[in-house]
């Protein structure tokens, strides 16, 4: 039996019955990794012996963690040279929560350096491949997490989503990717990219697993001032309710130019299906959508330029050798440690915050961000959820967009707005292109109403077979 191919809730059932032990699961996962990860490069920090040891000491399920979430005494590098060798002296809050529930931390997954990217190509460990086509990217920045779940190297994984970094790779790899509401999950221990946008979320094989994992990692955290004190519902039960009578908005702005026709077909069919399941789907307008990418690349890079200042070679990570002054140490360390995309974003953000430009860029971006949020507030006054494509295209070829950052930035065009508005979103498999590449449907919801979007996702999933398809590797 290949236990690595099962879902977490399926395995739990078997564990509870006593049919299997968690060592069995671990063994199957290890076998899959050995077989496939040389080709995929989804996992960057992994120690087989340690993983077995940990499994023996626990009764829980194995899980993989994106490389930007701090695990005490274990390599946490954001797939960047500048954090080479860095082992945090503490656990992120989500890690503490997982450990409390007996989860086994297997290792760290590949990502775009500091989560800067939509393809996992900017990792210092080299790109992760898409399990559906090894010549293609898995999406990003949580490409490692998405790919290892899609390839059954993992049962599930944690990722982080700043502008689509969970949902877009989930769509491109054919798995379920959930970005919770900003403030639902503690950011303590998530190495910040853009503090006002980052949110930890889940990559799973189905919606029920997303519900299960979300319940585990959610909750107010006194260590994170932006975490919100709201109760965590028991999602696993509520998502199984019917969606009859739910009002669903379909924003026309998400179906215009640049949308791949196969993707469009799959998404429109999915919307029809959801209508057949009893929801009422209607057109809605989110008029400020076209500004989202511009706003995002100012706000996100501005915050990133400040968040990444601390990687200066003083306390941890890389430090350039043979330097004669502190200035030289800073310059050489950062020149050596950061990749091109990180440098590009630091420069962009520094520029946007500079005196004389602050008002024109950063301040204006904040104002437009408010307008984008207002668009959603108004839409959600009428609708319970919003349906869109997750990504305008299926997985593209490795190297196809690395020389053209602007095109790359447009990969997040449909996912960015949710981060700017702070609302939850989930991407679920909804079809395949002619080239047999997965397509994702994005479901957006009201703040702290993950329940409704998971309910829509679950109902759709139960009525379709897309989520059961696995790549041949």
């Amino acid at each position: 039996m290949e236990l690595n191919k099962l879902t977490a809730h399926g395995l739990k059932h078997l564990l509870d019955k006593g049919d299997i032990s968690n060592i069995d699961i671990c063994n199957d996962v290890l076998e899959a990794i050995e077989k496939k990860d040389k080709a995929l490069n989804a996992i960057v920090h992994f120690d087989k012996e340690k993983a077995i040891e940990k499994s023996k000491a626990s009764k829980g399920l194995p899980i993989f963690i994106k490389d930007n979430i701090c695990v005490k005494d274990e390599l946490t590098t954001c797939s960047s040279k500048i954090l080479s060798g860095f082992r945090p002296p503490y656990n992120a809050t989500v890690i503490e929560k997982l450990l409390k529930k007996d989860f086994v931390l297997m290792g760290k997954t590949n990502m775009d350096e500091f989560a800067f990217g939509s393809s996992t190509e900017s990792s210092c460990y080299g790109p992760t491949k898409n399990p559906w086509d090894l010549e293609r990217i898995p999406g990003g920045s949580s490409g490692g997490s998405a790919a290892c779940v899609a390839a059954d190297e993992a049962i599930f994984a944690l990722g982080s989503d700043t502008g689509g970094s969970i949902r877009q790779p989930a769509a491109l790899c054919g798995v379920v990717g959930l970005k919770p509401t900003y403030g639902r999950v503690s950011r303590y221990g998530l190495i910040a990219f853009a503090s006002s946008l980052d949110q930890i979320g889940t990559l799973t094989k189905d919606v029920e697993d997303a519900a299960l994992l979300l319940k585990t990692i959610s909750g107010h955290d006194a260590m994170d001032s932006t975490s919100v004190p709201v109760s965590t519902p028991d999602y696993s039960l509520k998502i199984k309710d019917s969606i009859k009578g739910l009002r669903i908005g379909v924003p026309q702005e998400y179906f215009g130019q640049g949308l791949d026709s196969d993707v469009k077909d799959s998404v429109l069919k999915a919307i029809d299906k959801i209508g057949q399941l009893g929801a009422k789907c209607e057109k809605v307008s989110l008029p400020h959508t076209e500004y989202a990418v511009a706003v995002y690349y100012i706000v996100a890079t501005a915050e990133a330029s400040s968040n990444l200042a601390r990687f200066d070679g003083v306390q941890y990570g890389l430090r350039a050798k043979d330097v004669k002054s502190i200035e030289e140490m800073y310059k050489k360390t950062r020149a050596l440690g950061f990749g091109d995309e990180a440098k590009r974003r630091i420069i962009l953000g520094t520029f946007a915050l500079s005196s004389g430009y602050y008002d024109a860029y950063y301040l204006r971006a904040l104002r437009v961000r408010t307008l984008i949020k207002k668009d959603f507030d108004e839409a959600f006054a009428k609708f319970d959820a919003i349906l869109t494509p997750t990504s305008p295209t299926p997985a593209f070829k490795i190297g196809e967009k690395t020389q053209d950052p602007l095109t790359m930035y447009l990969s997040d065009i449909f996912t960015i707005s949710a981060n700017l508005a702070g609302i939850p979103g989930v991407s679920i498999p909804c079809g395949f292109t002619k080239e047999n590449l997965p397509v994702g449907l994005q479901i957006l919801g009201k703040p702290f109403d993950e329940e409704t979007i998971l309910k829509v996702a679950y109902n759709y999933e139960q009525a379709t077979e897309w989520h059961k398809k696995r790549p041949d590797l």
Binding site: D224, A309, R310
Partner: protein, 477 residues
């Protein structure tokens, strides 16, 4: 010199006396072994997040209210970005766009008159670590990183180095009254930078200013500003121009000099701190702070003048030190000749404290012992002169004045027969002086009084001795 006026603004950085740091739970205590009061948050480790210490905010608001500032309804923080090894995150969490409070004032006394010095803003921020430079290497102690710091910026309302000194003294006195900081400039819990410019009297436009740093006492601030004002005037008078720059004060040589490192025009790229969501300052917390606000030095000075009929000067000296003023008030409930209490506190007691480096709290002198002693003088049990030595005995032994007087036999001699004998002896032994007196030299009697006091070991009442001497000499020898 006389046709120039000086314009000064002061920036004070104050370490707030909280138990823990401003954004983490580490101890904020001074003097621990290096890097023992640290955690991922104050070390700026990746993934760590700040959580505001409400106590620091309260103390900050207390200062703001004591300086008559308006406290903001909404609390916001900003990031100030710059690279420096003592700054763990390479940005400082501070307040920029909307500080904790703005637009207040502080009253100072200058040339016997009250003057208002405007307070531009008071804001909360985190302190940096400390660099320790050795030969060939530099080390960093992050114990201080993240301790709460309050920046108090004055308007350029200060018109002389002397006024700057008064401003700092008055500020320190207020801060001590509200008990928010140790205010120790040597230990760095209070730091001060100054902006200074000069202009011809009558001109409206401000001159080019320089910023003066590295002053480690209020007197150093005054000295630095005196030197800098003179330097600027001299430069202008000799046809030169003032360069806008930062200058360091060299206290040993009493001069300011341009900072040697190349001055970079800093762009701090302030922006709202996304890790700390803005929040409304709870009205009831503010109300509590207001209710618990103690009487401040200025109103207290005025009350001392009206309630105890003290002079302007006496009242000012007493209230400038809260503990001293408290001590005075304790005594005043036991003894009603207030001026006499004030004289003793400001005279012998202060002198003793100064000599031994003590403060009134550390001085072993119960208020009832001081007033008990003053009572004994009034009742003629001891002389004022004996009291001066008795005071020191009380402080040294901690015993009450009555037992000490009995133990040492210090009671004043009230038995006239005993004094009579001493007077007669002194006149006999000092005929020349007695002759002088009778020849019209009135002062000569004081020399005789001294001799009588010596003979009676100071225990005779000097007034009585004078009377008896005059009486004895009236009839001739």
């Amino acid at each position: 010199m006389a046709n120039y006026e000086v314009v000064i603004g002061l920036e004070v950085h104050l370490q707030l006396k909280t138990k823990t740091k401003v954004f983490c739970g580490c101890s904020a205590a001074f003097g621990a072994p290096p890097n023992t009061h640290t955690c991922p948050v104050c070390l700026g480790f990746p993934g760590s997040l700040p959580v505001l210490n409400r106590e620091a905010l309260k103390l900050g608001a207390k200062v703001a209210m004591a300086l008559n500032c308006r406290v903001a309804e909404e609390i916001r923080f900003d990031r100030k970005n710059y690279f420096y090894p003592d700054l763990p995150k390479d940005y400082q969490i501070s307040q920029y766009g909307q500080p904790l409070s703005q637009r207040g004032y502080l009253l100072i006394l200058t040339e016997g008159k009250e003057k208002r010095i405007g307070i531009t803003r008071v804001h909360l921020e985190e302190d940096t670590g400390k660099l320790l430079h050795g030969t060939g290497q530099s080390l960093i102690d992050f114990n201080r990183a993240g301790t709460p710091l309050l920046e108090i910026v004055s308007e350029p309302d200060i018109s002389s180095p002397e006024e700057a000194y008064f401003y700092l003294t008055a500020l320190k006195s207020i801060l001590e009254y509200i008990d928010v900081s140790d205010c120790n400039m040597e230990e760095g819990s209070l730091r001060c930078d100054a902006n200074i410019s000069v202009r011809k009297k009558g001109t409206k436009e401000l001159g080019v200013k320089t910023e003066i740093k590295n002053m480690n006492s209020f007197k150093a601030v005054r000295a630095a500003l005196e030197h800098e004002a003179a330097r600027q005037i001299e430069t202008l008078e000799s046809g030169g121009k003032i360069t806008q720059e930062t200058r360091l004060f060299d206290s040993a040589r009493g001069v300011t000099e341009p900072m040697r490192s190349k001055e970079e025009a800093h762009d701090y790229r302030y922006f709202p701190e996304p890790d700390l969501a803005p929040f409304d300052f709870e009205k009831d917390v503010l109300r509590d702070i207001k209710r618990e606000m103690p009487e401040l030095p200025e109103p207290r000075r005025k009350r001392f003048m009206s309630e105890y009929k003290l002079s302007d000067y006496d009242a000012a000296v007493l209230v400038s030190d809260k503990a001293l003023a408290d001590y005075f008030e304790k005594c005043s409930s036991l003894y009603k000749k207030y001026k006499i209490i004030a004289n003793w506190i400001m005279g012998d007691i202060s002198a003793y404290m100064k000599e031994h480096g003590l403060t009134i709290d550390r001085l072993n002198l119960k208020s009832e012992y001081l007033t008990g002693m003053l009572d004994m003088i009034d009742k003629g049990i001891i002389s004022g002169k004996i009291a001066k030595t008795l005071l020191i005995d009380i402080v040294r032994t901690g015993k009450d004045p009555l037992s000490l007087v009995k133990e040492k036999g210090l009671e004043q001699i009230t038995d006239t027969a005993q004094i009579d004998q001493a007077v007669a002896d002194v006149i006999k032994e000092n005929k020349r002086i007695a002759d002088d007196f009778m020849g019209g030299k009135q002062n000569a009697v004081m020399a005789l009084v001294g001799k009588v006091m010596a003979k009676t070991k100071g225990k005779a009442n000097p007034q009585k001795v004078i009377e008896m001497l005059k009486e004895s000499l009236k009839g001739g020898l």
